[in-house]
Structure formats: C-alpha cells, structure tokens
C-alpha cells in the first residue's frame, strides 16, 4: 500500500463524503439567502420574445436541517389547512408531479411569496426569505424532487401519508419553464 495510493484513496473518500457536509450543515450563522433576483417565468405561454428564466438552486434543497425547518413551518403556518399534508384538498396536491405554476425552486418561491389566484395567500411580508426557501425545500421534498438523503422522515403525528424519505424520486411534468431556456 504505497503512500501515493493511500493518499489517492483518502482523496476519493473525501470527495465521496463532501456532499455529506452540505446535507448535514446547520446554517445558523451563515447569512440567510435572498429572494431570486432574476425574473421568474411561471408558465410556458409567453408574449413577445422568449424570456430566459434559469433554474436557481434552492439553497436548502440538499440541506436536511433547512428541509426539516420547512416541514415545521408547513405545520405551523397551517399549509395543511388547504394542502392537507401534501395530499391536496382546497389547495392543489403537492406530492404528485402536477405543477400548475412550475416546480423549479424559484417558481415555488415566487408562488409562496406572491401567492396565486384561487386562494394561495402571499407570504412575502409574513415570512422572511430564509423561511420561504425552507418551505420551498420541504414542498419539493414532498414529491421527491430533492436528494433522498436530505428529505425528512416521518413526523411524530398520525401517519397520514408515506414520509418524504419514503417517496420515490420523481420527474415533474409540465414544469412551466419555457423550452428556450432548458439548461443542460
């Protein structure tokens, strides 16, 4: 076992474990992420020239602590009142792959921040950006769009639906992004 192969092994091991750090971090001191700056296209239909609407990586999508905070907010802000633990009721279901206003992180962010017709309230002045990004992470984990490792397990409540960490990874339909801006 020469030193070179040993160091190679350690580097490979390190690379393997790097994502672990991000998933497990508790971002207490780090500055809270801001709202997405670029314009957010909500649907495929667009007047005039096609506008670019890139996918912004949700800051807490692969962070277990952020997603768990999102889960707690989902309960505390009574989102289940309309979305009933993700299964849908008055509000649309969040666990399936149907996305009316798009499933990209910044689209869900603007859905929560601005609100939507037919009853979705606007939370822009009620929750700060960090909290909305946490909710985005949790909502996306409900339907299996975030990495499995950072999805929360069952809650200490009645077992209403399989927990996000049991939901298989999903491919969302009609993500609402104009085709022109499909990023590789």
């Amino acid at each position: 076992m020469s030193l070179r192969s040993l160091s190679g092994l350690l580097l490979a091991g390190g690379a393997l474990l790097a994502p672990g750090c991000k998933r497990e971090a508790r971002p207490l001191e780090s500055p809270s992420p801001g709202a997405p700056t670029l314009r957010v296209a909500e649907g495929v239909l667009q007047p005039g020239p096609t506008l670019i609407s890139d996918t912004v990586e949700g800051p807490y999508d692969d962070n277990a602590y952020g997603t768990a905070m999102g889960q707690q907010l989902f309960v505390q802000m009574n989102c289940s009142g309309c979305h009933s633990n993700g299964g849908g009721g008055m509000g649309p279901a969040l666990m399936d792959d149907e996305w009316i206003y798009g499933s990209a992180p910044q689209q869900i962010f603007s859905t929560i921040a601005e609100g939507r017709p037919n009853g979705m309230p606007s939370w822009k002045y009620k929750l700060n950006d960090k909290q909305i990004w946490e909710l985005v992470a949790y909502v996306r984990s409900l339907s299996g769009l975030t990495p499995k490792g950072s999805r929360p397990g069952r809650m200490d409540h009645m077992m209403t639906s399989p927990a996000p960490n049991q939901t298989p990874n999903a491919k969302p339909k009609n993500t609402g992004l104009p085709n022109a801006s499909k990023q590789p």
Partner: protein, 316 residues
C-alpha cells in the same frame, strides 16, 4: 438565590435536609475509608515467610475476618438506614392535596407556555416563561410537551419532572416565601437547551390575585399615533403570523403570547432582561442571542421597528 441550598418550599426542605444528612454521613464514611487506607498502607503487619511471602498468625487472620465482616455489617446498616430515610422522603413528596391551583405548562423547543386553568373561558390566561404563584397555597403544574422531552426544574421549589410527549405528568409544590425563583430545562432538548429558563414568581395571595385579574384583561387600545402605527406593523408584518395579543386579531399560537409582554421581567425564555435595548436587539436578530431559535430575523424598516417597540411597551 437560585439553588438547591436555599429551599423555599416544604418539598425542597425535605430533600435538602436529606442531602445534608447524606453529605455528613457520606463524608464521614469517605474520611474513614481514606484514613483506613493510609493506616493499612503503613501498617506492615505481616511476617516474611520462607517463601518470601508475608503471613499472619491464625488469630490475626480471624481478626481480619471480623474486621471485614464488621465493616460490611456497618455498611449494610448505614445503607438500610438511608433506604428507610429515602422512602420517608419519597412518601413526603408523594403527598398531593386534591385541591390546588392548576397551571398547565407546555414545553416547546426552547420556551415555556403556561396556561392558568379557569372554568370561565374569558378568565383563562396564557403567558410564557414567567409563572406567578401565590405564597402558601399548593400549586399543581401539569406538564405536557409539544415536541421533544424537556424537564421542568426549579431547584428552590421541588425536584425536576420530565415533560414527555404522549404523557401528562404533574409536579406539586407550595412556595412558603415570596421571591423570584429561576428554573431551567434539565433534559437535553436541542440547539438552545442551554437558554430555556423560566421564572416562578411567588407573591402574597393579594398581590397574586391582582396579577391574575390584570392578566385576564385584553391589551389596551393604542392611544397616540406612534403606538397605533406600531400595532399596525405588528398585525401586518410577520409578528402576527406566530404571536398572539388578546384583544387584537393576532391569535397565532406558534410563538409565546405577548398580551402582557411589558409586565414580564425577561424575554426569550429568561435569556435577556426586558428593556428597550434588548427588545430591539432581539427583534432585529434573534439568532445572534439564541442561534437556532425558531424566531426569524425581522425585515422591518427602522421607523416601523421603533413604532413596534413603542407599541409593545404599552402591553403592561
């Protein structure tokens, strides 16, 4: 003084006397053992036999047997005595009066919610982190947890009792002298377990009844423009999403009830003294004082912030 050495309730007195007895006898036993060890280390009693080992005569051997058996018997006697004493203390602590002032305490991640039961719903009082109790009257604290296991413990008044999700347990005490007694969560409950304190304020019955009546009142309507703008900020900004103030449309129960926040001596579960500077600092960035707490950083403009502080200070 916030400690076990200054009991201010019959329950705590019983246990502290037990402690001083145990400390005395235990200390004596330890001293005897250490002295016996030093004596044994220097005794050099055995005679060297031909095989290079040390031997003792038959009689010394019997003496040694008697010593060990004697010491063993003394140990058993002391232990049984303490066992009886423990049971008597256990018995004394288990005496619960059937009629007592009942306070429901719910443990949240990193603060305490106290509710004063009352058949008349308009008189039910919900407060946080500071509990007023009358001196001399037995008090029953009903313990319930909203998330993880916490432990209610005010050393001056009684031992600790865990708040376990799925269980409702109770703790009884009768404060016999007035005073402000600090308690702290004693079961590890996450990031801010270290700053989850509460205060039991024991006061004479008259003063307590006055406090109870005052607490049952709703928040005063703001009079001048600054406090009215402050109330507007409270209701429209993110405060009303988690907090509630009786008499205003804000009724969320995620965070502590702020109806009489100005009358409380501390904020943030006993972490900060309740004054204008701390209140402002806490609202602007709670994570600086308690990293990991669920209260978010505020997004208020300075003018809105000043008005909000002015309004909150009217909530006596």
């Amino acid at each position: 003084m916030h400690s076990f050495f200054h009991p201010t309730s019959p329950q705590a007195h019983v246990v502290t006397t037990l402690w001083w007895w145990m400390f005395g006898v235990g200390g004596a036993v330890w001293l005897i053992v250490v002295i016996a060890m030093l004596y044994a280390a220097r005794a050099r009693r055995g005679e060297r036999g031909d095989d290079g080992l040390l031997h003792v005569s038959e009689s010394t051997h019997h003496a040694m047997e008697r010593t060990v058996i004697g010491a063993g018997v003394v140990t058993v006697v002391i232990l049984l005595a303490f066992l009886a004493y423990d049971f008597s203390v256990g018995e004394a602590l288990a005496q619960h009066p059937d009629r007592a002032l009942t306070i429901e305490l719910t443990g949240h991640q990193w603060w305490w919610e106290a509710t004063y039961e009352n058949p008349d719903p308009s008189k039910r009082i919900t407060t946080a982190n500071e509990i007023h109790v009358p001196v001399g009257r037995p008090v029953q604290i009903k313990l319930r947890s909203a998330d993880v296991i916490h432990s209610f413990w005010v050393p001056n008044l009684n031992g600790k009792r865990d708040l376990i999700p799925g269980y409702v347990s109770s703790q009884w005490f009768t404060a016999d002298t007035a005073g402000m007694y600090r308690g702290q969560c004693a079961e590890f409950c996450g990031l801010q377990h270290a700053k989850m304190a509460l205060y039991i304020i024991a006061e004479p019955a008259a003063k307590f009844d006055a406090w109870l009546a005052a607490s049952a009142t709703t928040a005063p309507l703001p009079t001048d423009s600054a406090t009215r703008f402050g109330e507007q900020v409270f209701l429209t900004a993110s405060c009303a999403v988690c907090h509630s103030i009786a008499g205003t449309p804000a009724m969320a129960t995620v965070g502590p009830n702020l109806t009489h926040i100005a009358s409380r001596r501390t904020i943030a579960a006993g972490t900060l003294a309740n004054n204008r500077a701390n209140l402002t600092g806490w609202i602007v960035d709670p994570q600086a004082f308690k990293p990991g707490t669920l209260m978010p950083k505020s997004t208020l403009q300075p003018a809105e912030l000043q008005a909000l502080i002015a309004y909150l200070e009217t909530l006596k």
